[in-house]
């Protein structure tokens, strides 16, 4: 009893440390800056950057972000001000609290403390979970909330559970598919004592959250984002259709190669990718380098044998938790598999929980089989994972941003801070849009007065979808050219490394006068130059 409480405290502390040290890496991403600035804007004016009064869905870059992360971040932004740490704090806490939460869920349900401890330890040290807990990732908050909703439901706190599940719908897009499926499984697996109570205390309050979404899908364009990325909009190129028809016949094509079969194969291929050893253990998310550390899988490779062993174990307790985890495992990749990307660790993020459950089940079953004392299993697992974990953390901290500085938007903070410092000395500043959405980083790092920006913004782009913001005060976000300097006005140019190469500036003698703002590897992602 004492041992497990001590253990879970230490494990949670380890989890917190791994999620919160060195917050300067990775650098802030667009979405994080947007979440932070919109929270800041709400805090000061009750309106978002576009001047909308308390929106539930934030227009942001035109990608319509669900608002839960922003609203839940308000206390942190209020307390710590607008900075990289305060935006991420909610995610850090959600990630850290998932660790004891998983422990309590498993311990209460299976009465197997060892399984619960091992699960929470693997969660605390899981690359997949650490990665998304260290940034302001809505998906990480979503996974925490789903876990919390399940825990409350299994504790028969139906009303609170329904509020939390309702909140997930406004936290992350893929919850709109996942949450209803999980609720359905919960109601079947953990049947409430009275149908009436579940209706009034759970289904009714949940519908309060769900109905606006259904209405939104039916009536408005909010759901565009879902449609744009969906698998269904991706069909076989006409040339390929022609090729196949020519090899066989139109009958042959419609029997074996028609769109329904093509889509089924594509769907299965994406679905399988999330269960491939490459995604889980060796390469990680190959579709987007921002979604996993370089040369690292989502889980430490030494856990693979335990996963295989655990997945085929028979349930050890009477609790339906085992079945719930099995269902969760199967449905978790659905939101990711239905979109265009071949694999997505963001959209399949909840996969972490069932996978860890089965890995831990493998560990405990094996220790029981080998008749090891239970206390020893945690220590031997910790020793086993020490080296791979060190390898992962080293790759994460020292190599991930260096390998892909452009994708990681390395240097935005230094470049923007330099710009802010020099801003008053120049008539105009041309800032490169090469790395995407520079305006939000300017607003974020300068803590630009929200009221002022809202006025500016409504003048620039009223009624239109915001793809890109071209100007804030004397800063123009467009590709800089040396030719701009010939005019008499005092101008500061901020270049990206890529533009320097493309314009051949690095081969000219003038390049010596360029100020590298964010040196990395053997170059700098941003350069400044003025006349």
């Amino acid at each position: 009893m004492k041992y497990t409480h001590l253990a879970i405290t230490i494990i949670t502390a380890i989890g917190l440390i791994l999620r919160s040290i060195y917050t300067h890496t990775p650098p802030l991403l667009w979405d994080e800056a947007a979440l932070g600035y919109n929270a800041y804007s709400i805090l000061h004016t009750l309106r978002d950057e576009h001047g909308q009064l308390l929106p539930i869905v934030f227009r942001s870059f035109g990608d319509f972000k669900p608002g839960a992360y922003i609203y839940l971040s308000l206390p942190f932004i209020y307390t710590f001000g607008l900075n990289q740490f305060s935006v991420r704090l909610l995610s850090i806490l959600a990630g850290t609290l998932s660790i004891p939460l998983l422990y309590f869920l498993i311990a209460r349900q299976t009465k197997n403390r060892q399984l619960a401890i091992i699960s929470s330890f693997i969660l605390a040290t899981s690359p997949f979970h650490i990665h998304f807990s260290r940034g302001a990732w809505e998906t990480n908050l979503n996974t925490f909330l789903i876990l919390l909703g399940i825990f409350l439901f299994t504790q028969r706190r139906y009303f609170y559970s329904s509020l939390i599940f309702g909140l997930t719908l406004w936290t992350y897009q893929s919850a709109k598919l996942l949450t209803p499926l999980i609720i359905l499984s919960l109601i079947v697996l953990f049947p409430p004592r009275q149908i009436k109570s579940i209706f009034f205390r759970f289904i009714l309050p949940f519908s309060f959250f769900l109905l606006p979404i259904i209405a939104g899908i039916v009536f408005s364009t909010d759901a565009n984002r879902l449609r744009v990325i969906s698998l269904l909009s991706y069909s076989r190129p006409v040339s390929e259709q022609q090729l196949i028809t020519n090899e066989g016949s139109p009958t042959d094509y419609s029997l074996f190669y028609q769109p329904a079969i093509f889509l089924t194969r594509n769907f299965l291929s994406r679905y399988f990718n999330h269960f491939s050893p490459q995604f889980l253990f060796t390469i990680g998310d190959w579709q987007n380098s921002r979604h996993s550390a370089v040369y690292s899988g989502q889980f430490l490779i030494l856990l693979l044998p335990f996963l295989l062993f655990g997945i085929f174990q028979k349930p050890k307790s009477k609790s339906p938790l085992h079945t719930l985890m099995l269902i969760w495992l199967l449905i978790a990749p659905l939101p990711a598999a239905l979109t265009r990307d071949s694999v997505s660790s963001v959209r399949s993020h909840t996969l972490i929980i069932p996978l860890i459950f089965f890995i831990a089940l493998g560990v405990t079953s094996l220790t029981t089989k080998l008749k090891l004392p239970p206390n020893l299993s945690l220590i031997s697992l910790a020793l086993l994972l020490l080296l791979p974990l060190y390898l992962y953390l080293e790759l994460y901290y020292n190599h991930t941003a260096k390998k892909n500085p452009t994708e990681y938007l390395y240097g935005y903070q230094s470049a923007i801070n330099y710009t802010i410092k020099e801003q008053s000395k120049y008539d105009q500043i041309i800032f490169t849009p090469f790395y995407g959405q520079p305006y939000i980083f300017y607003l974020f790092f300068s803590q630009y007065p929200p009221l002022k920006y809202q006025a500016l913004n409504s003048a620039v782009s009223s009624g239109l979808d915001v793809g890109q913001v071209d100007q804030v005060d004397n800063i123009f976000f467009s590709t800089p050219h040396l030719g701009y300097l010939q005019s008499t006005s005092k101008t500061l140019l901020i270049f990206s490394h890529d533009e320097i190469l493309r314009q051949g500036i690095d081969k000219q003698p003038i390049f010596d006068q360029f100020v590298p703002l964010s040196p990395i590897n053997s170059y700098s992602t941003f350069y400044a130059y003025h006349n």
Binding site: L243, N246, E247, L268, F272, S276, T282, Y295, E394, N521
Partner: protein, 532 residues
């Protein structure tokens, strides 16, 4: 519906179906590839002169085009070539026979190990209609023949006939490189199981062991002396410089020479990680069920190594087999784990060909899954179970037709050059017209055309033995032959081609338009024929 000995007609029926699928049009579909031609032509050469194309007397490894093929298959093909002549069918027939035997061996092995006749029959059925197994049964794929021998040997050990088993195990290593890795591992494991259950005594193993070693000496000696080892350096794990570069990249990024950095970014660590990735690729569900191998010659378009939906019986079958027989489960699992070893040690992975033995254990798991599904269906009352059964059979039938359609209708048209399609016609054209020209140039754009020329023209072996000259090996250790009589394989610049020449080109650009064109089966130009 328990299967009993009364259903004795089922197995022959399955085998007949298997034979039909594996033998339809086998003489011309798929087109003969250079590896098959080499095995066939060397059989022909050994049959007529007791020497291979390079004049080596009764070799155990064929130098062939520099890749040191184990010669076993060529010797096996000799009687077929003697009776049927040098035709694709004659070269392919031995593997066809052994592939049917494989199905029978699997049936016997499952029956012997589980005493479950239903499961044994389902296994035979699933293997008969499996894309992976069908693919490598149609053609002179010595990997499949070696696998069949290993299955026979396994069956013999399980029947406690150690002596013949040891002979067959060693024999399999005379057929295919990969077998040299998995056959000894499997044999040791089987013997270990027998020793542990005390079915055989340690003493009884001594004479087979000595005999095994004696039998293995020639092939080991020949491997060491014929350049087999150097071939491994061309296609082996270390031929891939990726891990080495990665190690250097990481060390440079750290800009530190501290011991811990040098240890964790060591190239050996990177090679181990790379090897793990290659090994695990064979268990990627997309490799197994959706896309299959990436090498065109080892695949059919848009088909996995197994039928698309067979991942369901696989998942059900793994625990099901565990409950049917623990010892047989362990054996199947062991075979699963060792099968991709050889393939993961080469630079190209996953490889359906080098990891071919994997088809057997996975088929057994899938069959156990099918059996479990059938058992569940049988529990329902009559109309419902009939509907479910009809549904299941329809889906199963659909995916089989889907595969056969892909294999017979789309494959050669999709990858004509990978299959050396229409080389027979191009070489026939060359033969018919060679008398009218002083010089002949034949494209070497694809693989090793010389061996196909030797094969299709039944070129007298003694003549080639006296003039054959291999080029220096390329990056992967492959060579080819540039000159046979007045035929040059490879097309030089138009200006340096002398008058009175016949040129059979692929897509090389020529200043004149072709005199004639041989079309591929997909109606695209395959060979353009020019004269000068």
């Amino acid at each position: 519906m328990p299967i009993t000995t009364k259903h004795h007609y089922l197995l022959p029926l399955i085998l007949i179906f298997a034979l039909v699928i594996r033998s339809i049009g086998l003489n011309h579909y798929p087109a003969l590839n250079p590896d098959e031609a080499a095995l066939g032509y060397n059989a022909y050469s050994i049959l007529t002169t007791a020497r291979d194309e390079h004049g080596h007397f009764l070799p155990l490894h064929l130098l062939s085009f520099g890749d040191s093929k184990p010669a076993g298959y060529s010797y096996l093909a000799i009687p077929f070539v003697a009776v049927l002549g040098l035709t694709p069918l004659a070269v392919r027939l031995p593997n066809l026979i052994f592939s049917i035997l494989s199905i029978y061996f699997v049936y016997r092995l499952v029956l012997l190990s589980t005493k479950n006749r239903t499961l044994a029959l389902i296994s035979a059925l699933v293997l008969s209609f499996n894309p992976w197994h069908i693919h490598f049964s149609r053609g002179a794929w010595e990997a499949n023949t070696a696998l069949s021998l290993v299955l026979l040997a396994t069956l013999l050990v399980q029947s406690r006939r150690i002596f013949p088993a040891s002979i067959i195990f060693v024999l399999s290593t005379y057929f295919y490189h990969s077998a040299r890795i998995y056959a000894p591992l499997l044999f040791s494991y089987l013997l270990f199981l027998q020793l542990r259950s005390r079915s055989i005594s340690f003493k009884s193993l001594i004479s087979p062991a000595i005999f095994c070693i004696l039998l293995a000496i020639p092939v080991l000696y020949s491997f060491a002396t014929s350049g087999g080892a150097s071939r491994f350096s061309g296609v082996g794990l270390f031929a891939d410089t990726g891990p080495l570069n990665r190690s250097e990249e990481l060390l440079n990024q750290d800009a530190s020479t501290s011991l811990d950095k040098r240890l964790i970014h060591n190239r050996r660590v990177q090679y181990i990680l790379a090897w793990t990735d290659k090994y695990l690729w064979h268990f990627n569900p997309n490799f197994l069920f959706v896309d299959g191998d990436t090498v065109p010659r080892s695949k059919s378009p848009e088909v996995g190594q197994f039928h698309l939906l067979e991942f369901i019986p696989l998942l059900i079958g793994i625990p099901a087999l565990f409950h049917i027989s623990r010892s047989f489960f362990s054996l199947t699992l062991f075979l699963t784990l060792i099968s991709p070893l050889a393939a993961s040690l080469t630079f190209q992975s996953p490889s359906a060909l080098r990891a071919l033995p994997l088809v057997i254990p996975l088929t057994i798991f899938i069959s156990a899954g099918y059996q479990q599904i059938l058992l569940v269906i049988a529990r329902y009352s009559k109309p419902l179970s009939t509907v479910a059964l009809v549904l299941l059979s329809t889906v199963w039938l659909y995916f089989n037709i889907y595969y056969l359609d892909s294999y017979f209708i789309h494959q050669e048209k999709r990858y004509p050059f990978a299959w050396n399609s229409r080389f027979d016609q191009a070489i026939a054209y060359l033969q018919d017209h060679s008398a009218f020209y002083d010089h002949i140039y034949f494209t070497n754009h694809y693989d090793q055309p010389y061996i196909l020329y030797l094969f299709y023209t039944k070129y007298p072996p003694r003549q080639i033995q006296s003039q054959i000259k291999l080029t220096t090996p390329d990056h992967f250790g492959f060579s080819t032959v540039r000159q046979i009589d007045n035929i040059t394989f490879g097309i030089p610049d138009w200006d340096s081609i002398p008058e009175h020449s016949l040129i059979i080109a692929a897509n090389e650009t020529m200043p004149i338009s072709p005199a004639s064109t041989i079309l591929f089966s997909n109606q695209q130009p395959g060979f353009n024929i020019y004269t000068k």
